[in-house]
Every structure is written in C-alpha cells, then in structure tokens.
C-alpha cells in the first residue's frame, strides 16, 4: 500500500510542478447556487485578479457545511487550498456536534461580510411590536421557526426567547424557503433572518439584532433599544488549513481586501443587502474565537449541548 502511495505521489509530482504555483482551490461548503456560493462566485474573480493566480471553486456540500469545512482543515497548508466559510461551520457546528475540526484548525485570512438579522413576523399580523409578542409569549406558547437546528435564525430566536423569558417552541425547517411557507400559512409566529429574506417575502421586521440602527432601515429599532442586548449577524470569511505560511497569509489577505472593494462585489452586496465587513487575519481569528464562545453559551442555554 505504502509503495503504491509513494509511486502515485512520485508520478503526480513529476507531472505537476509546484502545486501552489498553479491553481488555488477555494472550497465552498454548500452546493452551487446556494447563498454562500453566490457570494463566493462573485468574490472569486476579484480575488484571482488581485492574487494574479487562477482560483477555482470546489463545492463540497453536506451536513450544514461541516464536510466542506473539514475538507478545508484537512487540506495541505501550502496555500493551494483555501475555504470560503460562513458562520455555521466555523463558529456554531463544532460546538453542536462532533466534528473533525474546530476553530483552531484554521489559519485565518480575512472576513468578507457581516449581515445582521431581523426579527420577522407575518405581514398583516395584529401584533405590532416586540413588546406585544413578549407579553403574549409570557401568557401562552408561541412558535418560532428556523432554517435548521444550530443555524443563526435558530440561535438568535433561542437567545431572544431565553432573555425575554418566553414560552417558545422551536420548529426547524430544511432551509429558509419551507420556513417562509410555514410563516405564510400561520404555522410559525416569529422568524429571524437577514434583509434578503425580509425583502423577498410577505414579512415585517420588528427589530434588528444589531448594536446600532442600520442606515438602510432607520425606522427599525434595535434589540438593545428594546431592552434585550442581543447582537446576531451572518458572516463569511476566508480561511486556510492551519499553518499557512505568514507571507502567503498576508498576500491572500491583501488580495481579499482588494476583492471585496471591487464594484462587482459591492453591487452584489447592495442587491442582496449583504453588509461588507473586512477584518484582517488577527482580528478575524479573535472574532471567530469570541463568536464561537458566545454561540456555545446560547446552545447550552437552549438545551442543545451540555
């Protein structure tokens, strides 16, 4: 077996010159056409150009993005493989279940986006404010939906229900689409998701899970104003397997900063109400560590982990 391996590697090496010199493979942990993939595909051309190297996207889907994240963590740390990962597989799933990697398994390159989530209800509901929902939630049971266990919509709502002391039932769906269908049919009362979902569906925003009001939605109060200090956003960033050489890390981070400043990326962000947020290698690493800790605490309070 070992001989075959060595022989195979030898054959491969003799044909491929230094792997890192040719193509950078960017793993996206969801299938083509998903939310993360759409952003990654617009990010990629700017990144390739700034780097002066071809980058190809490889979709490795499954298990809430953890399969793709694991594939990133397991790859060679010579810069030939990077991963475009969102919050779920990076800062939530490793707490929720046993994964072969955790937040320490990566070298961090940059954060690209950060989009706060809103508290949503069905349009035309007789409930007009967060206060009314809290009163009702204390009196009787309310039902909130999510796009799956351990997703940001779930965590944000679980944290809100716990902080406000609501009697709430969590109803998980496979993705936002079916959940929105359930909201239109009145099966769920509340949902938390980004402005894309707010704009695309018959829903009204009651509050935003952000420290300050958003410029684009100045009339929507923050959770903090309403007395619940909750801050939830969906974010994405670029990582590499642990041990990426420092010079490469710096080079990639610079290319990343240029990529998210391109017109193409900015216009996509505007169209999809995605917030652009750059954090460099060290700041991003610290942010992920802190975010992981916070999410783990909420999962424990919601009774999903010990």
């Amino acid at each position: 077996m070992k001989i075959i391996t060595l022989a195979a590697i030898g054959v491969a090496l003799s044909f491929s010159t230094s792997a890192s010199a040719q193509t950078v493979e960017m793993i996206v942990p969801f299938s083509a056409g998903g939310g993360t993939d759409s952003v990654a595909r617009v990010f990629e051309p700017g990144f390739s150009e700034a780097l002066g190297q071809t980058t190809v996207i490889r979709n490795v889907a499954g298990a809430s993005g953890t399969i793709g994240a694991a594939a990133t963590a397991d790859a060679a740390n010579d810069g030939s493989t990077i991963g475009y990962l969102p919050i779920g597989p990076l800062a939530i799933q490793p707490s929720l279940r046993k994964t072969s990697y955790n937040a320490d398994s990566f070298s961090y390159i940059c954060q690209t986006t950060s989009t706060p989530v809103f508290l949503l209800e069905k349009k035309g509901s007789e409930m007009k404010s967060v206060k009314q929902w809290v009163e009702r939630g204390k009196a009787k049971r309310i039902v909130y939906g999510s796009s799956g266990p351990g997703t940001i919509p779930h965590l944000a709502m679980a944290a809100f229900a716990a902080t406000a002391g609501l009697k709430a039932v969590h109803l998980p769906f496979k993705g936002t689409g079916p959940a929105m269908n359930a909201m239109a049919g009145g099966e769920i009362d509340l949902f938390a998701d980004t402005a894309t979902v707010l704009e695309g569906n018959d829903v009204t925003a009651l509050a935003v899970f952000a420290p300050e009001r958003l410029k684009t939605y100045p009339d929507i109060p923050t959770m903090k104003e309403l007395g619940y200090d909750l801050d939830f956003s969906v974010w994405q960033g670029l990582v590499a397997p642990k041990g990426l050489p420092k010079d490469l890390q710096q080079k990639y981070a610079e290319a990343c900063q240029k990529a998210i400043a391109t017109d193409r990326f900015k216009s996509l962000a505007e169209k999809t109400n995605t917030g652009i947020k750059y954090r460099g290698p060290d700041a991003f690493e610290a942010f992920v560590a802190e975010n992981t800790k916070k999410n783990r605490k909420i999962l424990a309070e919601a009774g999903l982990v010990k």
């Binding site: 391996t5 195979a8 054959v11 491929s16 890192s20 190809v56 060679a76 030939s80």
Partner: protein, 173 residues
C-alpha cells in the same frame, strides 16, 4: 437468455442464493439496532437530544426485521417443500466469478479515488475493468480508455469547471 438448458441443480442453487440474500437482508436490521442500543452508532454526540431522535429509526428497524423474518420463513418453507421451484426473476446465466471480479474492480476504483484522486486510480483500474467487461479489441479498448479516463477528467475539470477529486489539491492529478 434461454432457460431450457437449466438443470434442476442450477435451480436449487439459485433458490439457495435467494435464501441467502433474504437472510442477509434480515440480519442487517438487528445489526443497526444493536449498534444503536450499545451506543456504537454515535448517538452519544448530543446528550440533550434525548432519545426522541432514535424513536422513529428504532420503530422502522423493528418493522424491517419483523416483516423480513416472516418473509424468510415463507421462503424457507417454499424451499423445503420444493427446492427447485422455478424462479421468474433469477438470471441463470450470470457467471459468479466474473461478476465478483467486476464488483471488486469497481469497489477498488471507488475506494482508490477517495485516497488518490480520480486520475491515478482510473488509469490503473479502467483497463482491467474494460478487460473484465469483455473488451477484446486493443484499438477499441484504447479509445474507450482515453475517452472514459483522461477525456472525462479533462472535460469536467477544464471544460466544465467541476473539480473531480485530485491527489494534490490544485495539482494536475
């Protein structure tokens, strides 16, 4: 596919084959059930989940084994009453050695791709698979090899932009 050459011996061995498949199919269920009850199936990852997530799978496993056992019993009684019962679904002319060899080559190919990427295993195993499949002409074999091996690799990786597994990420193979 004529059945006229069938001797009764072949029919008996076919019936035995049927029995073995049925038995193996029934045994699979208790295997999962035992694994889950002993905690070997990995259900201990999420303590707070309780046993709600196991309830439906367990019910299904019990249905599977119960129906399977009744079926096995019926098959067995039929067999002992008339071992050479004609079998409408059986394919008498399968060559067992050949089919096992083809399966082994295919399984080997799939497993090797996991470890060594697409290109190296396909170059090594595809000629064998073509030979086992009954390709005898050298020219045809080479054309088939070039199309199904390197051709498809090139088509997917470079033509269509869908990455097949590679030995070295970003590398040629």
């Amino acid at each position: 596919m004529t059945d006229s050459s069938d001797t009764s011996d072949e029919q008996v061995s076919r019936s035995i084959g049927r029995l073995i498949v049925s038995a193996a199919f029934v045994v699979a269920s208790p295997f999962f059930l035992a694994a889950s009850l002993l905690g070997a199936a990995g259900s201990d990852m999420n303590i707070a989940a309780g046993d709600t997530s196991q309830a439906l799978p367990h019910i299904l496993l019990v249905v599977w084994v119960a129906l399977g056992l009744v079926d096995l019993f019926r098959e067995a009684t039929t067999f002992f009453r008339a071992p050479a019962a004609p079998d409408s679904q059986g394919r008498s002319d399968d060559d067992p050695v050949l089919v096992l060899a083809i399966m082994a080559a295919t399984v080997g190919l799939a497993v090797a791709i996991v470890f060594f990427g697409y290109m190296v295993p396909i170059v090594l195993i595809l000629p064998l698979l073509l030979r086992l499949a009954g390709v005898r002409s050298l020219g045809g074999g080479i054309v088939a090899f070039l199309i199904l091996g390197p051709g498809l690799w090139w088509l997917f990786n470079d033509g269509l932009g869908i990455r097949l597994p590679a030995l070295l990420s970003g590398g040629m193979f």
